[in-house]
């Protein structure tokens, strides 16, 4: 009998449990309770993260393409404008102006026309004041008797005959737009589709490039400074290495602002380092080094702040490398350098990888330190995002910039996984 069951289970389809149900289903049922309990244990964190992280991120990402304001505020105008040929050089006809008058009257009543004005102002400077001015007048018009409206609009402002104004309204009438993303890479929607902005208006690509290059520089200097320290930590006797570990962790116990401000004091032109250099005569008094409020200052301060994130993963990887590997290499005839480079270093690569990913991703989105010590040339894209969030209130653009930043990080992560392998990352 037992013979027949083994035969059945090996030859005819799914393996069966003792009661005849498929083994897979039986196993799933047995594990269900465990899975439920595991889910309940992580549920508080899961809900917390959903509410405070995933949903806001999703909302922000949606804002980067959301553009309902034009079609909501000017519904009739959008419909009437659909047939207008934006590539010609004549403004729309009376029908469009009539629709605009009707829309504006409602919008002015609800005071939504100023919002629309500031939204379109991002795309075409001047439209904010055009809408505010027109809104005030249109409220007093009588839609039944005051036609034709084209003349009246032109009386308010000559700009209503400007083709660009109408192009902007037409371009941004769909409820979603790629405009923010285009703006985030220094492009705009022209009459013939996306085009580069004029040379003097481009800033974001440069900022993205600078953010990447500086993050890379910070990561590299963290590797260079952190590797020997991690090696010492892993190889010194316990007591000494514990003391060293406290020194490495010390920055974590100090406020970020304090550390950044300390660098300001050290690096400024009348600061400690310059004073010492002048005192020992290495630098003349009228040629003090500029080390703060530029890229150098940002790189120095951020390298210091992010260094522990590089040292700790490298340390935990190095600690797990048995010293007998180096001895084995030497006994096999390798010099100290060869033993290090061919045997020790390759085994520390996972630690370097883990540290680099941590530092690079933290650096690429860093905000406070570049804002404080970066001046104008050492600021990051995140400072621009903060500006759009809190000062210009152009959340759509801020969201688009953030979205691109997120995509860049994911691309780096993907590339790292492809070339180094994410399994090679070890935190301990």
């Amino acid at each position: 009998m037992s013979d027949t069951t083994t035969e059945d289970s090996t030859q005819n389809g799914p393996v069966l449990a003792a009661d005849g149900t498929p083994l897979r289903r039986s196993l799933a049922r047995a594990l269900r309770r465990q899975k439920l309990r595991a889910l309940m244990l992580i549920a508080p964190l899961l809900i917390f993260i959903m509410v405070t992280f995933i949903l806001p991120v999703a909302d922000m990402l949606y804002r980067s393409v959301e553009n309902g304001i034009v079609s909501e505020t000017l519904p009739r105008t959008v419909v009437a404008l659909a047939d207008w040929d934006a590539s010609g050089d004549t403004p729309p006809d009376e029908a469009v102006f009539a629709a605009l008058a009707a829309d504006m009257q409602i919008a002015a009543e609800e005071k939504t026309h100023t919002k629309l004005g500031s939204r379109l102002n991002y795309e075409n400077p001047g439209m904010s004041s055009l809408f505010r001015k027109s809104g005030r007048q249109v409220r007093r018009w009588d839609l039944e008797t005051d036609a034709p409206f084209m003349e009246k609009f032109l009386d308010i402002d000559e700009d209503w005959s400007d083709i660009d104004v109408w192009r902007t309204i037409q371009t941004y009438s769909p409820s979603t737009t790629s405009g923010y993303y285009l703006a985030a890479v220094d492009m705009q929607l022209g009459a013939d589709g996306p085009e580069m902005r004029p040379e003097n208006e481009r800033i974001y690509l440069k900022l993205f490039g600078r953010t990447l290059m500086m993050s890379l520089a910070i990561t590299l200097s963290c590797i260079a400074l952190g590797y020997p320290v991690a090696w010492l930590l892993a190889n010194l006797p316990m007591r000494t290495s514990n003391l060293l570990m406290i020194l490495v962790l010390l920055p974590f116990w100090t406020s970020l602002l304090v550390r950044t401000s300390a660098w300001k004091i050290l690096l400024q032109q009348q600061g400690v380092i310059n004073d010492i250099l002048v005192w020992i005569g290495l630098v003349s008094d009228d040629a003090r080094l500029v080390m703060i409020n530029n890229q150098l200052g940002t790189i120095i301060a951020m390298t210091h702040i992010l260094l522990p994130f590089m040292i700790l993963p490298m340390y935990s990887v190095m600690q797990s490398i048995n010293p007998s590997y180096l001895r084995a290499a030497k006994s096999l005839g390798a010099t100290d350098w060869t033993a290090f480079w061919r045997v020790y270093f390759p085994q520390t690569v996972p630690g370097i990888g883990a540290g680099s990913i941590l530092v690079f991703i933290l650096a690429i989105g860093y905000y406070i330190t570049p804002a404080l010590v970066g001046g104008t040339t050492g600021t990051f894209i995140s400072n621009r995002i903060a500006f759009h969030i809190s000062t210009s209130l152009n959340w759509g653009l801020a969201a688009a910039l953030g979205g691109i930043l997120l995509a860049v990080v994911l691309v780096f992560y993907w590339a790292y996984d492809k070339f180094v392998g994410i399994d090679n990352v070890k935190l301990g």
Binding site: N322, K330, S331, L332, G333, T335, P346
Partner: protein
């Protein structure tokens, strides 16, 4: 087998080692190892045997004294120039390289050409019967397989001297016995000098030409395995090598090759004086369990006998192990071969036990 002389391949000359400047880990070590010899350093942990090996490999420096390799002082030669093969306790196979790359490593740093390298790697792998594993990673191998690769790597650059630091410690019993055989076979086939460190006395006895028993930073005895087992020179060696019964007493009579010892409970026994100088000395008498006899027809005329009470009878298959109470001690062991005429003693029985005087050695107290 040589003690001193010009054909000694490795010489430790009055070597001392201290780590902290206060205590000596190795005290005045003098040792000559002949070419092609398989020498084992055996001792409990902390006895200084691994330190000696590390000094020979170049990873520790001798605090005092000289180490000579092939007649040349090597105190100031860095490890990578000594050309000594080494097998480590944890194998130390480089985890990021394949088996073949591991074996090619010592050849690469010696700047051998590619075809030479491949030929030697292949030969070394075949030598340990691992030819099919060239492209595996060490992590994909079992402990025994890793052990073979570590051995092949230590031999691939054809060193004249190979050091092994408890290489079989992590293997299970059966594999260990098999590898013991493999290692000795290779060492003898290739004619290499081997220094082997272990704390496992069976390993030391079965593999070595000579065994140096270490304790307390000194070599207690340096002899071939049979001499070591049958003629231990002091009670540490007697106790450390094999199973041993030890009885304490005082020397009553002392001739050239016989002595009578009075045990602490008054009983008299015959033994061979080894490490006692005069009548009245305290001594520990050592007797191997398999040399103890209880059947009266086997005793010599006039031999001294001891009364013994059977406490426990243990059946072990090939032998019977009987625990006895003798001279106030209840850890006295007697081993009898499982022969057809053998009697199985019962707990509670009283028997007379005795032995040939030359099997019973009066050692230091």
């Amino acid at each position: 087998m040589l003690d001193q002389g010009s054909d000694a391949f490795v010489v430790f000359d009055k070597v001392q080692k201290s780590y902290d400047g206060q205590t000596l880990v190795v005290k005045d070590l003098n040792l000559s190892i002949g070419k092609g010899e398989f020498l084992t350093m055996l001792g409990p942990s902390g006895s200084g045997k691994t330190t000696c090996l590390m000094m020979l490999a170049g990873f520790e420096t001798a605090t005092h004294g000289d180490i000579l390799l092939d007649g040349q002082g090597i105190n100031n030669i860095p490890p990578h120039k000594r050309g000594i093969g080494m097998v480590f306790q944890n194998y130390a196979l480089f985890p990021h390289m394949t088996v073949a790359e591991n074996l090619a490593f010592p050849l690469e740093v010696r700047k051998l050409g590619k075809s030479d390298r491949e030929a030697k790697v292949k030969r070394a792998l075949d030598m340990v019967q691992m030819g099919d594993f060239a492209n595996r990673r060490p992590a994909q191998l079992s402990g025994g397989q890793q052990q073979r690769i570590a051995l092949a790597r230590a031999l691939v650059f054809e060193p004249e001297l190979v050091l092994m630091d408890e290489p079989l410690g992590a293997l299970d019993k059966q594999l260990r016995e098999h590898m013991q055989f493999e290692i000795t076979r290779l060492a003898h086939e290739l004619g290499i000098t081997t220094v082997y460190v272990t704390h496992d006395q069976t390993e030391a006895l079965t593999m070595s030409d000579r065994v140096a028993v270490f304790n307390d930073g000194r070599i207690q005895q340096l002899d071939p395995p049979d001499t070591l087992y049958e003629e231990p020179k002091n009670s540490f060696v007697a106790q450390f090598i094999g199973e041993n019964n030890s009885l304490e007493g005082t020397v009553k009579e002392l001739n050239n090759d016989t002595a009578v010892v009075q045990l602490d409970d008054g009983g008299l026994i015959d033994c061979k004086p080894v490490n006692v100088n005069k009548v009245g000395d305290r001594t520990k008498v050592s007797i191997r369990p398999e040399r103890v006899e209880y059947r009266s027809e086997r005793f010599q005329e006039g031999a001294h006998l001891l009364k013994a009470e059977v406490l426990e009878f243990i059946y072990m298959g090939d032998v019977f192990r009987t625990r006895l109470r003798v001279a106030g001690r209840d850890d006295f062991i007697m081993k009898c071969r499982n022969a057809p005429d053998q009697i199985r003693l019962k707990p509670g029985e009283t028997v007379n036990i005795g032995w040939m005087p030359e099997d019973c050695r009066a050692l230091d107290a």
